[in-house]
């Protein structure tokens, strides 16, 4: 497919477990973004990658959250020792160069539920 792909689409796990969420951006897009969307809310920025570097990690809510990107393509968002407040939809987006005047294109997200 030509769009942003995220996996898994749904994840249910117990409090305290670690989870890994994956994002495959649109081919050729150098910029990648992670957002979080709580039920009925807007999107909350988490982290931005340009290539494999993350110049902006300002949105990560705690040190339990980390992300990496390899080969300028796939990115994983890891949440350690999950808490119930981590339950949300985690959305990934990519854009061609990361310049401010280019649209970000989103995947359908991973719905994370912490029991």
């Amino acid at each position: 497919g030509a769009g942003v792909s995220q996996s898994p689409s749904n994840k249910v796990t117990e409090k305290g477990k670690d989870v890994e969420l994956r994002c495959d951006p649109i081919s050729g897009h150098t910029a990648l973004y992670w957002y979080r969307q709580s039920l009925g809310q807007g999107l909350e920025f988490l982290i931005y990658f340009q290539g494999n570097s993350a110049p902006d990690k300002s949105g990560l809510p705690s040190d339990r959250f980390s992300a990496e990107r390899t080969g300028g393509s796939v990115s994983t968002l890891t949440i350690q020792r999950t808490q119930q407040e981590d339950s949300a939809v985690y959305l990934c987006a990519s854009s061609f160069t990361g310049m401010s005047n280019q649209p970000q294109h989103f995947g359908d997200g991973t719905r994370l539920s912490i029991l």
Partner: protein, 116 residues
């Protein structure tokens, strides 16, 4: 903090009517704006964008208007169809400084319901 907000959380229209969804922003440094449509269980879908050097831009059945004087953005949908039912978000981006090219700032969205 500064954020993008929407005037109405919900909007109900009849099929065939024109819809207008409004958005107010507060960051004068923002110079790029996007409208997204989000259907249930899906990610936000790009609809249309506009740069701050423009005040109007048209797409297929959609028009975005930007009034920088009052920091107001609107999305007009012509001949609204049941398939237009979704949550609509406006988002802004800052074009310069440390935040340039990074986070989009989203409002909380307007739910558009179209009845036939």
């Amino acid at each position: 903090g500064e954020s993008v907000g929407l005037h109405l959380p919900t909007l109900s229209v009849q099929e065939g009517d024109n819809s207008i969804i409004n958005c107010a922003y507060s960051n004068s440094a923002s110079d790029y704006f996007i409208w997204y449509k989000q259907e249930s269980g899906k990610g936000p879908q790009f609809i249309i964008d506009i740069r701050s050097n423009m005040d109007k831009r048209q797409g297929q059945r959609v028009t975005v208007l930007l009034n920088k004087t009052v920091k107001h953005l609107s999305l007009q949908i012509a001949a609204t169809q049941p398939g237009d039912s979704a949550v609509y978000f406006c988002a802004e981006n800052i074009g310069w400084g440390p935040q340039a090219g990074t986070a989009l700032i989203f409002g909380k969205g307007t739910t558009l319901s179209v009845s036939s």
